[in-house]
């Protein structure tokens, strides 16, 4: 990994990540799809960003690259000063486990585990298990308001509760930032509100959040909105 030689005004440490000229091309039989065609933007620590755009504009593709689930075809992706655009599967796994928190549209909790065990999963892959780990998971469950449901299985929780467990899980590794792909897409307006409040309070405590959304009401509550169209950034504005 190359240490970035950046000497711009905001020093290297204050970036959550930076992407430069990011491209992602899918090659299919006789057809190439340019899902991302040169995306460049920086995210500072503590930002709260909503990514919007019509269907097929490349939002999920971008998020997969940012989440180290996918490698860009070209371009650089600096994560805390390290270029992680072309590292191997093992290193990508380590970065996902240590630096990134995922929140999915369909919660994606593991059905055979209870609330506490679900929150603990990312710690296990870092070899962090024991009393401290348990205390931390319990604390996070309480923070998202599920202190009384520690031993429930996902099937015994409502959608909003499941999503709050997923958020607790995304926080357990103290990630650099949280990536949420339509995290409120499956929720009604009341629970959407609860989840957004949770995001806001996390952000108020300094957590960087990047989320994809289709809904203007959701995007309005972020601090910055990036709009994609046909694989390029159409607009990048701060919310008033």
């Amino acid at each position: 990994m190359i240490r970035a030689q950046q000497a711009d005004q905001p020093n290297a440490e204050s970036f959550a990540f930076r992407v430069q000229d990011l491209r992602r091309t899918y090659f299919m039989k006789g057809e190439t799809v340019h899902a991302l065609r040169g995306v460049t933007f920086d995210v500072l620590v503590g930002e709260y960003i909503a990514i919007m755009g019509p269907s097929g504009s490349g939002k999920s593709t971008l998020l997969n690259v940012l989440g180290c689930l996918d490698r860009p075809t070209s371009g650089s992706y600096l994560l805390a000063g390290d270029d992680v655009a072309q590292i191997n599967d093992y290193q990508l796994s380590r970065i996902r486990g240590r630096r990134i928190g995922f929140v999915f549209q369909s919660y994606n909790l593991l059905q055979q585990l209870n609330v506490l065990e679900n929150i603990k999963v990312p710690l296990q892959y870092q070899g962090l298990i024991g009393k401290d780990a348990n205390a931390k998971c319990r604390e996070l469950a309480e923070m998202v308001g599920l202190g009384s449901r520690l031993y429930h299985r996902p099937t015994e929780l409502s959608g909003g509760q499941q999503q709050r467990v997923a958020i607790a899980r995304s926080l357990v590794n103290d990630p650099y930032f949280i990536l949420a792909d339509e995290a409120t897409g499956n929720l009604d307006s009341k629970t959407t509100d609860e989840v957004l409040e949770l995001f806001e309070s996390l952000n108020a405590n300094g957590k960087t959040i990047v989320m994809i959304t289709h809904e203007d009401e959701v995007a309005e509550r972020a601090k910055r909105v990036i709009r994609l169209r046909d694989g390029v950034i159409e607009s990048d504005e701060l919310n008033a």
Binding site: S93, N108, L110, Q111, Q112, V121, G127, I129, R169
Partner: protein
């Protein structure tokens, strides 16, 4: 490290419990495989242990020369009314005089004979023997005494337990007289019950000592003689055939157990000169023992092969289940990868899950296998009470003997099957594309 391992095992158990029925059926194959191995090996070991005990009772230092009815030579011979064959008293003398390094040689003549007392009869094997016979065959005296040197040529008889029971169901036989043919003999002793010994000399039946009657060999020769008439056929066409046999058996005990084979060779060569027909057999119990050992090894190899096949089939079943599991849990795999699991983590998870599955089947199989003794006894007892005659004698005496190696082997194989058949599904899981896995369903 260890805590992490237990965490994965715990996860494996939890995941398997989601589909209890399916996991149970998959493990059943391994269960049956392991318990079958342990059961069959235990039975085989039980049989061969008994065989070895019986052979050992014949004496590892002994060479046994037995009379055997020769194959009929010419037609004229086959039709002759009296057949003379077998070991001769001269053979006995020659052995004693010519064979070096022997402790002793013991002659014996036995024939089927009916003993009578009033209206009671006993179809016995009348054995003409010397004083050594008791110790040689590990017989024991229940009451009275055994034959002694002073009895040579006297009309005294020692009865075996069943013989005594038939002739004297209520009384003490000692001192009483019974009919042996047309003469009175005095009963001087009675032997204890004795379990049957190994079959030798081509006869398939094991030797049953409990229907014997013993008289001095000199008395047998002088008063009964060598010639015995046998009834052949029945009713109107009844016929008598005579057999003229001097000795039924000569037991030669060598000084050094290492000389057994060589001595047997020398005896064979010596006797051949004086016998035109093959009317005797030289049996070396030690050789029988080696043969039994070879048979046992072959049986065990066969069992291991069969076990291997059955566990292979079980393993294929397990792999099938695990492939289905991986497909069903594609989403879970994607989630775990997103949360930081490396490919190795995923392989470990599914491999351990497979091993937990086969190991629990194997462990249950071992536990069931270990209970072979009590279960076998119970079934045997049940069958005996309902239909006592259906079991062959070998089963009556069979005691399964659990072999440690069979337990370790079947456990090892079941673990091995878990690893061998778990690798492919686990790798398949690990090499799924995380993004596609997350999108699954």
């Amino acid at each position: 490290m260890i805590a992490q391992f237990f965490q994965i095992v715990d996860l494996g158990i939890k995941s398997l419990l989601v589909q209890k029925m399916r996991a149970g059926l998959a493990a059943l194959g391994i269960f049956i495989g392991t318990s079958t191995v342990i059961w069959l090996v235990a039975m085989g070991e039980g049989v061969s242990y008994r065989a070895q005990q019986q052979i050992l009772e014949l004496g590892a230092k002994n060479v046994i020369v037995r009379t055997k009815e020769p194959n009929a030579g010419s037609e004229e011979e086959a039709n002759s009314r009296v057949k003379a064959y077998g070991l001769l008293r001269a053979d006995f003398r020659r052995i004693v005089e010519n064979i070096p390094n022997i402790n002793r040689a013991i002659p014996m003549r036995e024939l089927k004979f009916e003993l009578r007392l009033d209206d009671r009869t006993a179809d016995t094997k009348l054995v003409g023997c010397t004083e050594d016979y008791l110790e040689l065959n590990r017989l024991e005296i229940a009451r009275g005494r055994w034959l002694s040197t002073r009895d040579r040529g006297e009309k005294v008889i020692v009865l075996a337990s069943d013989t005594a029971k038939r002739l004297f169901p209520y009384e003490n036989p000692i001192g009483r007289t019974i009919w042996v043919g047309s003469e009175f003999y005095t009963v001087v002793g009675q032997t204890k019950d004795r379990t049957a010994s190994a079959a030798i000399g081509g006869s398939l039946d094991s030797r049953d000592y409990n229907l014997d009657a013993y008289i001095p060999i000199k008395t047998l020769r002088q008063r009964v003689g060598d010639l015995v008439m046998k009834r052949v056929g029945g009713g109107q066409g009844m016929n008598f055939v005579g057999e003229d046999v001097e000795l039924s058996q000569i037991t030669v005990e060598v000084e050094d157990i290492e000389d057994v084979d060589e001595t047997a060779q020398i005896i064979e060569t010596l006797l051949k000169k004086f016998h035109e027909k093959e009317d005797y057999a030289v049996v070396v119990p030690r050789e029988l023992l080696r043969q039994a050992e070879r048979t046992r090894t072959m049986f065990n190899v066969l069992l291991v092969v069969i076990a291997g096949i059955s566990l292979l089939v079980g393993g294929i079943g397990i792999m099938n289940i695990m492939l289905a599991t991986v497909t069903e849990r594609t989403r879970e795999i994607g989630v775990r990868r997103a949360l930081g699991a490396t490919r190795t983590d995923i392989i470990g998870q599914f491999l351990i899950e497979t091993v937990v599955l086969t190991a629990s089947g194997g462990l249950a199989g071992v536990l069931f296998g270990l209970s072979v003794g009590p279960i076998f006894r119970f079934v045997k007892k049940a069958v005996m009470t309902f239909s006592p005659d259906t079991l062959p004698p070998i089963v009556h005496e069979l005691e399964p003997r659990i072999a440690l190696w069979s337990v370790l082997l079947s456990l090892g194989i079941s673990l091995g099957v878990g690893v061998a058949f778990g690798v492919y599904p686990a790798r398949k899981a690990a090499y799924l594309d995380p993004i596609e896995a997350l999108r699954h369903e």
